[in-house]
């Protein structure tokens, strides 16, 4: 009797977890609808005119800001985390590798505000005083590059963790086969392990990308928040999440403002969701096949 009730309660909780995602989309979409009635989606996404007082809500500058920052983060994070993951999974001694994995986990646990503080204290001055002058550019330091670098450090642990798991799923027989033919360790990694692990590694990097795409506080603190299309990595950017975070409180007085911001949130959710769905799906398949 109790067992039956418990089963039904637990089942409904499990189902509601799955439905939660749909509920989020539905609520955001419902609240974003008013603005879609007065302007078309493509106008909103591809216009850079953001003048809330005049009722113009072009999100392009923010979308571009997000893309720039995410792009820099991915370009920096992917090679570093891939090399580290190969090292930890293939080369390093087990004990060493477990110590490093612990440290990587700690890095992953550091709150984004702290990353932001660190970015302001270290990365921003570094760009302002060293890196930008090196390229002969004037920069306040609060820039796409600063946001990208801080994000890169934030997503690296995630990519490393997932990639190491993926490499561990590659059967040892393949490594043995390649080594026994006289391949060097690196050749084995490059031609066999990486090739076998490719779908999983791509998925790991997509997860990192999705994380970077939606990260708010750290980027908000170092990217400069100027709503203009960035022209180089040294120009400031105003990513979507920062837009929401900075303006959500005061939006009530201006008509359509909240609707526009919730549309931004919806876009964010949609993109991140698609990326994580695809990569999780790939990873699931990959791990099942490896078992």
């Amino acid at each position: 009797m109790l067992d039956g009730v418990a089963r039904r309660v637990m089942l409904s909780m499990t189902v509601s977890c799955i439905l939660l995602l749909l509920l989020m989309i539905a609520m955001l979409a419902y609240r974003a609808r008013p603005i879609l009635e007065v302007a078309s989606l493509s106008d909103l996404l591809f216009s850079a005119a953001w003048k809330p007082m005049k009722g113009q809500f072009g999100l392009l500058a923010y979308i571009a800001g997000t893309l720039w920052v995410t792009g820099v983060a991915v370009i920096v994070a992917v090679p570093v985390s891939l090399l580290t993951a190969i090292f930890l999974a293939e080369y390093a001694h087990k004990r060493f590798s477990s110590v490093v994995c612990t440290l990587v986990d700690i890095l992953a646990g550091i709150p984004s505000v702290v990353y932001g503080v660190w970015g302001m204290l270290v990365i921003v001055p570094l760009i302002k005083d060293r890196i930008a002058p090196m390229f002969g550019v004037e920069s306040a330091g609060f820039s796409v590059l600063a946001g990208g670098l801080v994000l890169a450090i934030m997503i690296t642990p995630l990519i490393i963790n997932v990639s190491v798991e993926v490499f561990r799923c590659v059967p040892d027989e393949l490594r043995e086969a390649s080594l026994s033919l006289g391949a060097t360790k690196w050749q084995t990694c490059k031609y066999v392990v990486l090739r076998k692990a490719l779908p999983g590694i791509l998925a790991a990097n997509m997860l990192g990308l999705a994380r970077a795409f939606g990260e708010t506080m750290a980027v908000l603190m170092v990217a400069g928040n100027v709503a203009r299309l960035p022209t180089s990595v040294f120009s400031p950017a105003y990513p979507l999440p920062a837009l929401i975070a900075n303006n959500y409180g005061e939006m009530m007085s201006i008509p359509m403002y909240d609707s526009a911001l919730l549309l931004a949130a919806l876009v964010l959710l949609g993109v991140v969701m698609i990326f994580s769905l695809v990569s999780r799906f790939v990873l699931m398949r990959f791990e099942e096949r490896a078992r």
Binding site: S81, L103, T156, M217, A265, L268
Partner: protein, 283 residues
């Protein structure tokens, strides 16, 4: 032949460099926060609330934010446990092996885990508006609970999955119902792992700023009511950092140090638990 050896060496050097730089980042971050935060970390910081003129450099501390964060996250964690544990148990004990629902639930949790916290913040705010609530500790708790429960549920799922099937069968053989098996045998067996999942979720919750930004609000007084706004550490850091006064900024660093310290303690506790846990399962 020699080219192969050179390539191997170059690859190794690059790998060392990459691993080293990742570790350097950790040291650098913790080091920076320590160096800049320690000088401003006074006893007042952790025992006082902001006094009048705190934000222009007068006396006080961030006790409001420390307690606010601890209370809020503790509440959120409790709510998240109530959601996560049944879900994790359901997909492992009740659902059949290889069940569609179980893999769908795992996928959904993984995707929810990746949803940006700012979206949770916006969602939580919409929920609160729908119920006519204003920014309050309770609102923050609920939002943070929704934010952390996927992490927690997946963490629990991973350890409960490891519980040997024979153990469950032995329990059924003794005439126990699935409910009894789930809560008495499985939970007990996986307890250290479950606790570490709870701690990981707590760590994620206490560090998150974007989700509490509109839902919990901010206040200078101590958080004693669920329906009043509550201060949180991440937001305290954020707001103090926004000040142009170096004294106030220094307090932001000190607050960041407090938060980092809390997180590190949690990480170490998780390590301790998982290590003990894996030792138990091997023997």
């Amino acid at each position: 032949m020699n080219a192969r050896r050179i390539e191997e060496t170059v690859a190794r050097i690059l790998m060392y460099a990459a691993t080293f730089s990742v570790l350097c980042c950790l040291v650098l971050i913790v080091g920076t926060v320590l160096v800049r935060g320690l000088p401003a970390l006074t006893l007042d910081m952790i025992t006082h609330t902001p006094e009048g003129g705190y934000y222009i450099g007068r006396g006080g501390g961030v006790l409001n934010a420390i307690l606010g964060s601890l209370f809020l996250t503790a509440g959120a964690t409790v709510i998240a446990i109530v959601i996560s544990l049944p879900v994790a148990l359901y997909i492992n004990v009740y659902a059949r092996r290889g069940s569609r629902l179980a893999s769908l639930a795992r996928l959904a949790l993984d995707v929810l885990w990746g949803v940006p916290s700012i979206v949770y913040g916006a969602f939580g705010f919409l929920l609160m508006m729908a119920f006519g609530m204003r920014a309050s500790m309770l609102g923050g708790m609920i939002t943070v609970a929704v934010l952390v429960f996927p992490v927690m549920a997946r963490g629990m799922d991973e350890v409960i999955r490891m519980v040997p099937h024979e153990l469950m069968e032995a329990s059924y053989a003794l005439g126990a119902t699935r409910f009894e098996t789930a809560f008495k045998v499985v939970v007990r067996q996986a307890l250290p792992g479950i606790l570490s999942a709870v701690l990981i979720a707590f760590g994620r919750g206490i560090g998150d700023a974007a989700s509490v930004l509109f839902t919990a609000g901010f206040t200078d007084s101590l958080p004693f009511s669920l329906l009043e706004p509550a201060a949180t550490l991440p937001l305290a850091i954020f707001f103090q950092l926004g000040s142009p006064l170096p004294e106030v900024q220094a307090r932001a660093y000190a607050s960041a140090l407090i938060l980092t310290g809390l997180i590190l303690v949690i990480s170490l506790a998780v390590r301790f638990l998982t290590r003990r846990y894996s030792r138990q399962t091997i023997s």
